[in-house]
Symmetry: C2
Subunit: 355 residues, 2 copies
Amino acid sequence: MVNDPGAVDATPARAPTIKDVAARAGVGIKTVSRVLNDEPNVRPEMRDRVLEAMASVEYRRNSMASSVRRRDQRTASIGLVVEDLANPFASQLTRVVQDHALRRRYLVLVGSSDGVAEREREIVGEFCSRRVDGLLVVPSGTDQSYLAAERERGTPVVFIDRPGKKITADAVVSENEIGVQQATEHLARHGHTRIGYLGDRQSVHTAERRLAGYRAAMTELDAEPDTGWVRTELTDASAAYRAATGMFQQDDAAPTAVVCGNNLITVGTLHALQALGLRETVAVVGFDDLDLADLLRPALTVITQDIEAIGERSADQLFTRLDNPGEEYARVSVPVRLVPRGSGEIPPPPHGEGE
Amino acid sequence: MVNDPGAVDATPARAPTIKDVAARAGVGIKTVSRVLNDEPNVRPEMRDRVLEAMASVEYRRNSMASSVRRRDQRTASIGLVVEDLANPFASQLTRVVQDHALRRRYLVLVGSSDGVAEREREIVGEFCSRRVDGLLVVPSGTDQSYLAAERERGTPVVFIDRPGKKITADAVVSENEIGVQQATEHLARHGHTRIGYLGDRQSVHTAERRLAGYRAAMTELDAEPDTGWVRTELTDASAAYRAATGMFQQDDAAPTAVVCGNNLITVGTLHALQALGLRETVAVVGFDDLDLADLLRPALTVITQDIEAIGERSADQLFTRLDNPGEEYARVSVPVRLVPRGSGEIPPPPHGEGE
DNA sequence: TTGTATGCGTTATCAT
DNA sequence: ATGATAACGCATACAA
């Protein structure tokens, strides 16, 4: 009973290794390895014997062991850190990145930082411990310099949506400023001069750029924005709801149109306008598309980011850097697009009305 | 220049190992390993020396090597196969699973099968090659028996959203039938007798159950559904659009209310009703919530799945099985909830109208 | 064309 | 309490 040759399978059946396959096929392990890695110098007959043996024991290569031994230590996986995977922007981005990665037989590890710098670091640490070949990061907080160490050890980093802080690296970013500028001009073209803006925390790069786009447009239009027309630091829909309610309850000087800095803010603002009975009165342009935007009445005019392009460009950027390190860091800008659907084309009320 | 003591770093700086840490701390590698794994029998003084050395070289454990050597081969990761990560149901589910996994220091690998059985198998294969400790699968196609092999090798499987076919295993499933039954009864309670149903392919378990719920309610109401009131095999929003358009253009016998079998169908149906000018005339209840459902007019009444509970229960189920294998397989049912918002409470038009 | 021996970074065994 | 050494499953160098 010592060498248990024909023992009943009591143990959970250790997964078969190339040794098992080799023994079964009556070849050396190196031949199995060659078949596994599509290396040359294997007689078709041998190859078939090996493949058959693999199938019969349902062999599955242990890619852990493989990458430990590999000279380049490659794991064929990359890590992606988003803010919140439950957010449509993040999940669509993840899907695109996965598709592009899978095309190169790469797997994607995903983590949600919730915009908390500490969590971002933890997730990155976990990824690096798994020896991902590269990192895609939507950065949170004020300092990504910790990533320099990972990079020097051979793990390239590409930032998405906004550049990392205190570090120079590749980044793929939407043209936030231009987008909001165009949205504002669009509203002006439809007759508005009293245009408001509701935005996120200015510490977030994208929010800062978007407000800059608004200001640029207003300056160009000689429409000095009233202080009551701009609210920032709105971190969620309910904050936006309160801010919008306040903004449009200003009897004297409420704006006739508003640009919303992101989709949470758009949702909060729409709820506020709904409650005030102003849905069909105040013109609205939102940043980022929403699923049912075209079923709303009026349908929602938005500036959409090209998530497909963002995902593709950032994956490409990462894989390119994996293939040839030592290139110059690049900042890729992805155009945004204004989609008029109705809410952004509402004209201002006739002069003198509103009290 | 042979042993390059102070060589300029030309190479991409191999990641430090426990050997490097041990040398720097002046201890054996086993001591480092002990610190790393919180094993007993390390003098606090030693531990501090090791921790300091780790910090100074920014050591990151290589969990690949770790799990290769481990007796249990554990990788502290699980695999999750969804249909499409870009779909809100999938991404919210993923988020919940990740949170519960991360609490146990587990990582989640995600893949999108697009409902294609072949892709599901590929992804599972990739996950198994990465030696995930367990699998969560939203099954596609007609046969998950291939997963039996993985399970026998010690990788437990839990199905989500619908049970796997040709295999007995744990499953966490919403009460689809009850949900649609309640939705139908809800419409009946508001005066409707001519209630339609638009559903997905009957080969999909959830779709089959949902239609069964509709039929059960109709039978109970003695409201034999007209053949023109039920359309299935609708795989996307545009198919639903066409089906709904056809259904409500039946001059004589169009239903006055409709239940939509999933959110894509709901979107298609709403577009169709919009085009026909029937948005405020036909009562609608959708299965699965939509982001802006409450901003629509009328706001959308839905049956929502408890994604939080589904994710939590399935993760728990998997981890429980990891800790003690050999338990009986269980099928967990998660209740759904009817959320009345307006569209499901529209009364039928007065009798005799409609031509 | 094929196989043997060595090593990857870690955990496990066992001696000290 | 600590460390030398074997072993994990695989890739690599090199011999046959």
